[in-house]
Symmetry: D2
Subunit: 204 residues, 4 copies
């Protein structure tokens, strides 16, 4: 907790962090700007209600065995607490195909944009799990209509304590951001570099 | 057959058409510029060898229950006949999610581009089956690295004899092509409008 | 809660009931003989630890998107609290097939019997969701090696508040029990009618 | 071909063998008592019609990505040729679970028994791919209502040219047959040991 607080203070960056237990929400609230609900907790309704009550933004990840309808139903637990700062996140579903870690379901991003006003985030890193695929998949996510991307970055990916195969080193992340900016222009969209949650937040 | 030949003669467009029986290949060869092997026949090895022997381009669709490895293995049946004009086509796999017709597996397009020199096509129409999703999904396919798109178009989709829900009317197809062209520029690629197979073909 | 306590007192039957929130465990402990962790909470690790600490038997249902390895890993959260009264429950996984509600994965029951000493339960009712299939599927579960079955029964299924399509009326349940008894003899096993948890429990 | 003919002559056993090409059907007809259509060819409609025309029994395996409805639809291609000697075979579908080779969908066996008069066969060997699971899964298949089983047997499984992990040696096959016989009695059914197709055939 202190580490997160210090990281936020020294960098000025907002903190988005996962919470897995309803009893931890109050403490995490002290240091976070937004909560993340992981795929395994998408239907942990006690947890959803608890983060809903904080009023902070919540990134709700789709369970890897959950349908789009269930994702939308889960978001209602947060919205029902009067918290409308919910970001839906597609991070891959489990299928027979194991060439990638999960099967990233990009068409449902476009479908979600039609069915809800909530912003939609895509997490290529966890979905694909292969470093060299992150860039093209992130570009595709932007092209299909994603409002935000969640990209794993590590100064030295080979030393990462977890998910080492999917983190981008800073230079590759920089190149991706440049390509995303060019793509966004081609699509007539603007890119809020480093501020994916800027329109959300405590003061929103 | 005569209809296909007449359509080709009157429009000057190349004909890509599906063949389902090894015994039909010789006749279809007379009127087609390229063969399509449907998803249900991806592992119909007698058929693959037969179209391989013609030397014409072959669009090989991924079976909806087939892995990437199996798609590549199937393509070897065509290549083994000395025919290297093979286009791999991702058209969606079968998963628990039914909000779309199939789950279009766009990350494997990027993976295929790393693992083979063969061009990769994407078929958003059959994969998604919802007209309003074709445009964003086609843009995503281009962004992830697809070399070609297969888009259902119909002058009056509501009168289509099959797949009426997914065909684009001409005006929407025109808008999609415009958006694809702008996107291609943003990606530093050029768009060969209406000539997806121009580098392939009888004389290639 | 009072209703559960009264039902237990009047019938003398042990109570197995689901708990979804770590904060409810203490209260449910007062009236239950065993806890059930539902499929959606299989990886709700805070909840698993909490029921683990009670020492009561726990029926842990496999998540419909979870592998066998993940089911076994989840059970460790309960075992790690010193509670070895864990029953694993197969209740169907989510696949492309929708002719039944889920796809009941019976071969993994035999696999689990090889890989762990924990008893394995099967829930045909939720997996299949079709009344007329419950009997043959329950027989198959017994034949593949299940230690216990979880069968929905309702005096008047058509009036059930939920899952009406899958509950057996008492006469069909009686016939199933008779057939199970005959099958058990054929398999050289004995049937503990109505006492699936008899070797577990508070006093165990 | 000569080998099959010789094996049939010397053992007196009927021959069931796979055919993958419509052009091979006439030759295989000379030496076989029944055709098998493999999972990858379930929707190879030219092949289905061709074996349909022979009048011999046909074992039609469910595609590992095919629904029950599609299996029944495929069988119509054989039935439409006036050949009603069709046996449907469940051999596992492809899911996210890889602890077994495929996920054997036993409840659909009971469903098929309700929806069609055709006999239903189960293939535990290919579905599970683990020798020690064949026996319990075969028992479960019998209990759920299968009319026939397809079991891989090899005199020395470790020397098998393919599928070595799933073949039963003769002594284990013998034990399985004994257990099946006892189970069948428990279920009130009789076991036609070694004559699964006896009511079908050339003279039927």
């Amino acid at each position: 907790m202190e580490l997160l607080a210090e990281a936020r203070a020294r960098t000025g960056l907002p903190v988005l962090t996962e919470v897995v237990h309803p009893g931890h929400v109050a403490r995490v609230y002290e240091v976070a700007d937004a909560f993340q609900i992981g795929a395994r907790n998408m239907q942990n309704f006690a947890l959803l209600s608890e983060v809903g009550r904080t009023g902070l933004p919540v990134v709700l990840k789709r369970g890897f065995g959950a349908t789009v309808d269930e994702l939308l139903a889960a978001s209602e637990y947060i919205l029902a607490e009067g918290n409308d700062q919910v970001v839906l996140c597609e991070r891959g579903i489990r299928t027979f195909e194991r060439a990638t870690r999960f099967t990233l379901d990009l068409p449902v991003v476009a479908l979600l944009k039609q069915r809800t006003h909530l912003p939609v985030m895509v997490d290529p890193s966890h979905a694909v799990g292969i470093r060299t695929l992150i860039e093209p998949v992130a570009l595709a996510a932007a092209a299909v209509g994603a409002d935000a991307l969640l990209i794993d970055v590590h100064v030295r990916p080979e030393e990462a304590l977890c998910d080492a195969d999917q983190a981008l080193p800073p230079n590759e992340f920089g190149r991706l951001m440049n390509r995303l900016e060019t793509l966004a222009m081609g699509l007539g969209r603007t890119l809020a570099v480093g501020r994916p949650l800027e329109h959300l937040g405590r003061g929103a």
